[in-house]
Structure formats: structure tokens, C-alpha cells
Symmetry: C2
Subunit: 527 residues, 2 copies
């Protein structure tokens, strides 16, 4: 059994705190040594992706210390316990099984009398069969016509991850003639969200997926009601247009109001649910189940790679260690995620949830306050757009923000144009390459307004092309990085008590049980 200790009780961490030596990236990256370093500071992630960290403020000596920290914190052992079915989510007394949706990493995991791998595969097969019937036209609308659009109704993890993945592959699917159905998403309780989506789709040819584990999520049920009204208004029966993704014990299971129900369980948190039925239903319907299977295969490759017990050969673990070093030793409070791929436009929003909801905690897994900083603020937008926006602050602001780049050799569509001697894809890649060096090395200038201090650390994940498999690996890499960081900080990365208080107070407002400042606010809003 691994032992769970606070970061600041580990002797390898105490050594890091005392160690005042710092790596100067600018020097480290210059000349032929810099070239060698950039080429060799890399670890494979899986599915053809590689993590390059030559522009991080680390050197061989520091890497050794980080590896010692990984060993002392027993990161590999803790991951092993997790995938073998230990109760890692202590607060809620739950197993943590999202990796099991992608493959069997260790022992059989049995919970509630069920082999959980078999359960997940069973749901995948059920979804695949349903999707194929929809695509073939065996399942069709009341007028006997094929469904052309799928609409996911969910919020939080039932929205951000699946939406980010759908957008990441929409154009890839178009380019490869495998876009079976267009997908849309309704999430916000703001009525304008549902009404806007409904104003854009052809309801008669749309299939709606209601995603709610408990079957009682108020936002989601409210949005379902908009959808049902729209279906009825079109003279149709909602039961012919809706499926549910829910738990087996929810009121939505075995309910004649839905064409079919696919099941999730308590062992996968919302932000980790993209590879469960929560992402599986919408992505299998949109792209075909074989494409979803490739996402799972890519994720499984990264999950397997994360088992490597050598921290310097384990991309997720190393990424986690460097992140904790930046947060706790260097004191950087935020991290930017900058994918140089328009397809990844909503991937930063997914990572923002994944990371901040998992590790934005002040108590350890035993409910005791910790005396060190935990999860950073995560934000980001696709490059090159960000370059023309907030990069000014990243380059010349008073704070240092570590950067996480992602880039690909090829674009998703096969088309491109040559302008001034280079393709767009080459321009994109030239830009991300240039940014890494600009941030790290800076530029001297007598005019201080044109001076760049440099010393701004970054890493980059490089792949050949953003395919379903590469996307799966990218998703799992970050999930595993966040998991390892949670282990280092000794947090429970799998609960989210911080979202409860707002819910309780919102109910009070709606029940008109308010006083003081809250009453004033509800009066201002005329509630």
C-alpha cells in the first residue's frame, strides 16, 4: 500500500525548497548544446505524440531531484492502486475508473458485484449497435427519414469534454468522409442557449441525448423541457427523438420516454467522463463507433505509457512534476494551454475544468488543510489567434506564466495554399516554433519597450496529425498529469465539494428564503 503524505513532509521536496539554484533557460537553449537539449529532452506520450520539455527551466541535476520526488511520493504505486480498483476518491468513498473505459491496465476490477471493464465494454457495444442502426436508417424519425443531427444536453463534464472532442474531429471527419451526423450541444441554464440551438437545427431530423448521472440535474432537465416543447411543437413525439445517458438507478433508466438508455456509474467523475458513455454516445453517433474506438485506443496507449516507473520516461508524470516545481518552488500561479490547431479551440476550456476542478483544493485527501499552493489557474486559446491577443502579457508582463503548446506536422483537411513560399500549415508550425524560442531566449534591445527578458518556460506536445487516436492520447495525457499532480499535492482530485454551496444558495433564492445582501440581489434580478 502506498502511503499518502503531504508534499511538504517529503524529504525530497524539502530539498527542492532549500535548493536555490535555478536553471537559466536562455543559456541552456543557446548554441549547439541548446539544440542537443531541445532534441533530447523528450518523452513519448503514446499514439505518436511526444512531449518536449527542452524549454522548461530544468536540467539533468534538477530532473534527478524531481525523479526522487516522484519515487518518494510513490506516484507509480498510487496509479497502480487506482487502476487496480482502490478507493482513491476517499471523500465520496468511490473507485476511480475512467482509464478502465479505455482498456484493462491491471487486475480485474469488480465493484457492486460487476466486472467493471465488462460493464464499460458492454455499454460501448450497446452504443455502437444503436449508432449503427441510426446510421443505417433502421432507427428513424416518425416520417421514416434518417436522423441527421445529434444534440447533447448536459452541463460541466457532460458538455465540455465531449464538445471539445467533437470540435477536434469535426473537420477531420469531413475530410475523411466519416461525419455521420452533425453534433450540437446545449448546456447553459440560460434559456437563450437552448433556444439558439433549437433555432438552428431541424428538430424533425434530430436525435437528443440527455446526459445526467442522477437524472435530476436541474439545468439539464430544464433544457430537456425546451427540447421536448420544440419536438411537440413540430407535431412529433419526444420519445421518438430522445436517448438518455444516466446511471442504472436513475429515473431516466428503463423509461419509456427514451428510445434507449446508456449507462454510466459513480466511479467516473464528470470531468473524466468523455471516454465513458457520456462522450461515447454523441461521438459514436457523430463519427461512427469505430472512430470512437480509435479515441479509446489512443487514450489507452497514453494510460499504458503513464505506468512507466521511470519518471523521466513517463510523459504525464514528468509533466506533472515540472508543473508542481513551477507552482510550488518557482511560485507561478497560472498556466496557459496553447494548441496550434483550430480544431482544439475548446480543448483549453476542457482542460480548465479538468485541472481546476480536480486540484483547486485547500485540504488534503484526509480533509486537513495544506500549507502549500495547489492547482493553478488554467486558461488558453488556439495559436496563432492568441499571438494577436494576450501573448503581449505572456512576453512582456510582470508575471511569468508557464506555457503548454500543442502542435501538429500536418493539418486535418488535405487542402492548403502556398503564400510567400510556404503553406499555411508551415506558417502555423513556424509560429509555434518561433514562440517557444522567443519566450525562452527573449531579445536584448536598447529600447526597453522592445526588450524581451526571456526566461519564460514552455513545453510542447508534437504529433503528426490530429487524428482520433492522437486526440485520445492527448486527452489521457492531461488526465494523467492532473492525477499525478493530485498525488503530489496529496489531494482528492476526484470530488468537487466546492460547487455545492452555490447550488444550495441558488435553491434558497428560488424558494424566496433569502435575507440580507442575497435578498437585495434577488430583488435586483426581480426573482
Amino acid at each position: 500500500m502506498a502511503s499518502w503524505k503531504n508534499l511538504d513532509t517529503l524529504s525530497s521536496y524539502k530539498k527542492l525548497v532549500k535548493d536555490e539554484s535555478r536553471v537559466d533557460i536562455k543559456t541552456a537553449l543557446s548554441g549547439e548544446d541548446g539544440a542537443k537539449r531541445m532534441a533530447s529532452y523528450k518523452v513519448p506520450i503514446g499514439a505518436g505524440l511526444t512531449y518536449y520539455y527542452g524549454a522548461k527551466a530544468v536540467d539533468d541535476a534538477l530532473l534527478k531531484k524531481l525523479a526522487a520526488l516522484a519515487k518518494e511520493a510513490e506516484l507509480a504505486e498510487k496509479y497502480k492502486e487506482l487502476y487496480n480498483g482502490a478507493v482513491i476518491n476517499t471523500g465520496e468513498n468511490r473507485l476511480v475508473l475512467h482509464q478502465l473505459t479505455r482498456g484493462q491496465l491491471g487486475d480485474d476490477v469488480v465493484a457492486d458485484g460487476v466486472n467493471k471493464r465488462e460493464f464499460f465494454v458492454g455499454q460501448q457495444e450497446k452504443i455502437a449497435a444503436f449508432a449503427q442502426k441510426v446510421h443505417s436508417g433502421e432507427i428513424r424519425n416518425a416520417a421514416g427519414e434518417k436522423f441527421t443531427t445529434v444534440v447533447q444536453i448536459g452541463i460541466g463534464g457532460s458538455d465540455l469534454g465531449p464538445r471539445a472532442l467533437y470540435l477536434a474531429l469535426e473537420n477531420w471527419a469531413k475530410a475523411n468522409d466519416t461525419l455521420k451526423m452533425k453534433a450540437k450541444f446545449i448546456s447553459n441554464v440560460d434559456p437563450d442557449d437552448a433556444l439558439a440551438v433549437l433555432s438552428e437545427i431541424d428538430v424533425a431530423h434530430s436525435l437528443f441525448i440527455l446526459v445526467s448521472k442522477s437524472g435530476t440535474t436541474l439545468e439539464t432537465l430544464t433544457n430537456e423541457s425546451f427540447v421536448k416543447n420544440a419536438i411537440k411543437k413540430a407535431g412529433l413525439d419526444p420519445a421518438d427523438h430522445m436517448v438518455a445517458v444516466t446511471s442504472e438507478t436513475s429515473p431516466l433508466a428503463k423509461n419509456s420516454g427514451y428510445l434507449e438508455a446508456f449507462f454510466m456509474d459513480d466511479y467516473i467523475g464528470g470531468r473524466y467522463s468523455s471516454t465513458s458513455a457520456v462522450g461515447g454516445a454523441v461521438l459514436s453517433l457523430a463519427f461512427g463507433p469505430e472512430v470512437f474506438a480509435r479515441i479509446l485506443a489512443g487514450a489507452n496507449e497514453a494510460d499504458e505509457a503513464a505506468k512507466n516507473e521511470d519518471p523521466l520516461e513517463n510523459a504525464a508524470m514528468l509533466d506533472a512534476l515540472i508543473g508542481v516545481y513551477e507552482r510550488n518552488i518557482l511560485g507561478y500561479p497560472s498556466t496557459a494551454v496553447l494548441p496550434y490547431s483550430q480544431a482544439l479551440s475548446r480543448f483549453p476550456a476542457h482542460l480548465q475544468q479538468l485541472d481546476m476542478e480536480s486540484n483547486g483544493k485547500s485540504v488534503n485527501r484526509f480533509g486537513e488543510p495544506v500549507d502549500y499552493e495547489t492547482g493553478p489557474v488554467i486558461f488558453g486559446e488556439p495559436g496563432t489567434n492568441g499571438q494577436h491577443s494576450f501573448y503581449q502579457l505572456l512576453h512582456q508582463g510582470t508575471s511569468i506564466i508557464p506555457l503548454q503548446f500543442v502542435g501538429f506536422v500536418e493539418n486535418q483537411f488535405s487542402d492548403d495554399v502556398v503564400i510567400e513560399g510556404s503553406t499555411s500549415q508551415e506558417k502555423l508550425a513556424a509560429n509555434v516554433s518561433a514562440q517557444i524560442i522567443a519566450f525562452a531566449c527573449g531579445k536584448e534591445d536598447e529600447n526597453r519597450n522592445k526588450y524581451f527578458a526571456g526566461g519564460r518556460p514552455s513545453s510542447i506536445i508534437i504529433g503528426r496529425k490530429l487524428t482520433p487516436k492522437a486526440l485520445g492520447a492527448l486527452l489521457a495525457h492531461f488526465e494523467n498529469k492532473v492525477m499525478f499532480q493530485g498525488f503530489l499535492w496529496n489531494l482528492n482530485s476526484f470530488d468537487q465539494e466546492g460547487v455545492q454551496l452555490g447550488k444550495v444558495l441558488a435553491k434558497k433564492v428560488l424558494a424566496h428564503e433569502t435575507d440580507g445582501a442575497l435578498k437585495v440581489l434577488s430583488d435586483l434580478f426581480e426573482i
Copy 2:
């Protein structure tokens, strides 16, 4: 003439630094005093919007000190100099005239022999006349059919602001039957961006707006090339489908390749250009020029309100002062923008550019390094989505992140549904109200995992409905807030030297003039 001094040289600031008293929001907001405070700590913004700051860590004594800082920093005088045409953008030796696109705030401003207000109004009239001809069908495609879609090609400020404003009003326009043309945006140099948009539109019925001040922005010209190829492929003449927004001296002006050219000048930076021709052309075509005029009128109301010399009666100035207090005295490194309106989904991305590109600087307006923190990291997503995502960290993380909420009494569509006794709009407003109190007041709990420390400051801007006028005021409020913060930090908020180095290095990569680590990166990407 106002005198431009570093923040840390001002005696009122030095007093703030020495002053160790802190306002406890939890106490301040409790009971009847808390209710009174929430109701009275407010300032009108213009166009029916109000800035409420009762949940900020301020009290009457501190407000007095902040007002003294505003006086000593001569914020009102500096704004006056700006709108009267002083060279505020010192680095580039330029006037700063975005407010003048919305109205005449002071003296006539003449530059390059031209009355600039007349110039801006002239362009607005030219755009209005053109848009009306497109809408009436006087200007039509080669087949004699009406244009139905308008596509903006631009990057940075030519994209984020106009896109955020379009999305903010798209549903309002649908609900009010004034959506004249659907708008799309192409920005990223990633070829998949242009190809995705082109795969979704009907090119034959699309009008394209190329936005580039110099007429030489590489990303934008590259994307234009994709568009021209697509137009030609459809057997059409690009010159019948394209207009330009550019400077009068650019190669795009008076060019037979474009149906028409609308002009911008050097006195409005990209991130401030939404109310110039950059936003004017696409928004007038999408919604009609009279809707764009209402955006301008709302912005002008906020610009006028920002002239108020009493800092406590000037919402933009007070917002700026509290932000600097939080950044420099309380030491908070980032700020979240959280609009409770799905229509404002991309407004945080616009504010991210506006704020971080303007004030992410380490040198003052004279090019001398400053010894204090400047612009914070800005990030955000619409509520209630954020609540199911990164709010965990905001509530229970180890860092305090000040919050800027925005909310409306009514939604944009007139439709809504009642579930469990309340409408969606009421649920939305109940949630934002609840969050403000939850963040400020927290919750005691013996279980530390369910404990909320509170003391997390927020403000909220409340309006009746997100109309064009309210949107204009919201936009201008933040522009003016950023401007006042730049004055306080003694920065030039209107240049962006930090984006240059990356451009220079990217050109080197494309010209194969690299060595060392940059060569390794370009090899990895096979450039």
C-alpha cells in the same frame, strides 16, 4: 497638462501600501448592514447598466483613499487629454481615438488635416449606405441573387471584438427579426479554420470582408487566398464578393479587386477597433446599420459617464481603482470574467485581449522598467457553465481570484419554460446572486472538505436585457476601465511591442535561417 508618474511614486499609493487594515467582506455583507451595503455600493455605467461592488473588499474609508489616488494620478485629466487628441500612445507617437467613433466627447480633434470625428462618421455613413444596398438587393451576386452571409477575415482585434459582439446579438437579432445576414469569422492561420468555414457556407451567396490596416497581415492575406480559391472554384469572380476594411494608404484601398473599401486609421488599435469600420462593416451587414448605431450610442453613454470627475460616481474609474488595489495591494494575480448570459460566450476572450494586450507590460510609458505588478491574467466562461467547471478552484483553491460577474434581468429570446416553479432566466439570476454571496461569505463546516473560507471578492454589472445599447456600454466600460488602469500603472496601454519578436523569428523559420534549438523545432515540424 497632467503629469505622468509611476504608481509607486504617488503619496496616496504609498499610504495604501503602508495601510495594513483589510476589509472583511464576510462581516461587511452580513445582516441588515450587508443588505444596505449591497444596495448602495453601485454606480451607473450608462445604457441602463449598473456596476455593483458591495462584494468587493472595500469600505467607505478605503474608497476615500482610492478616490485620493485617482485624484493624485489625475485620471480624469488624462482621459480628457486623450479624448481631446493628445498623443497618448507615446511609443508609436499616435493619438488614441476609439471613443471618437462613438461621439464627440470634447474638442474637435484634427489630425493629418482631417477632423477625425467627421472621418469616422463619414465611414459609418458609407458602410450604412453599402449595407442598405446589400440588404435591398441593389448589390447582389453574379447570378442576381441576394447575399445571405457575411464572412469577416481578420485576426486579433479584427476578429475577437467583432466576433464577440456578433455572437452577443445574434439571438437578440433573431428574436427581433433584424438578423439581415448570418456572420462567420475566419482568423487562424491554421488552414483548417478557413476550410472549415468554407465547408459550411454557401460561397455564391457570401460577402467577404478582408480586414487589415496595413493590407499586408500575412495570416489575413493567406486566409483571403483560401477564400478567393473557393470563389473561383464556384465559377465566380472574387471581386464581386469582397470588400476591404483597411487604411487609406494600403494596397487594398482603391483596388478593383474589392467591391468597396472602408477606412480605419492609425489612431485606433486593433483591440479597440470594434466600434470603428472593423466592427462596423460586419455588424452593419449582419444586423443593419441602425443596430450598429445603437451599439455606438450605448458605448458613448459609457464614455460620457467615464468623464465624471468623482471617482466614486464613475464606474469605469472605480472598477479600475479596485482592480489595481486587488493586484498591487492584495497581490491577486488574475481576474475571472463571468457573464451569466450565453450570448456573451466570447466576450471574456475579447476582454482577455483588451486587458492583457493593453496592460501586460513591464515598462512605463517612457520605456523605463516599473517596480510593481501590472495587468493580471484575465480568463472566463459564461455562467452557469463555469459553475460546473472551474468554480471549484475559485471557491476552495489556495489562491484568491477576484471575480467580475455580468447578469441581466431578462433573456434575449422572449420564450422561457417554468420548471419547479421558476423560469430558466430566474434560475440563471438566482445562480449568479447565490455565487456572489457564496464567494464572499463562505460556509462553516466541521468537515473541512465542505468548508468554504469565503472572503473572495466580486463585482457585478446588472442590466435589464442584453440589447445593442447595453452591449455598447458594456464594451466601453471595460475599455475605459483598462485605460484608467493603464494611467494608474503609468503604462502605454495602446502599443503591443510584445508581439513583434515571435513574428520576426517565425519569418526566419520560413526563410530557413535558423540554427540551434529553433532549427531542431523547425526540423521536427518538417518546415
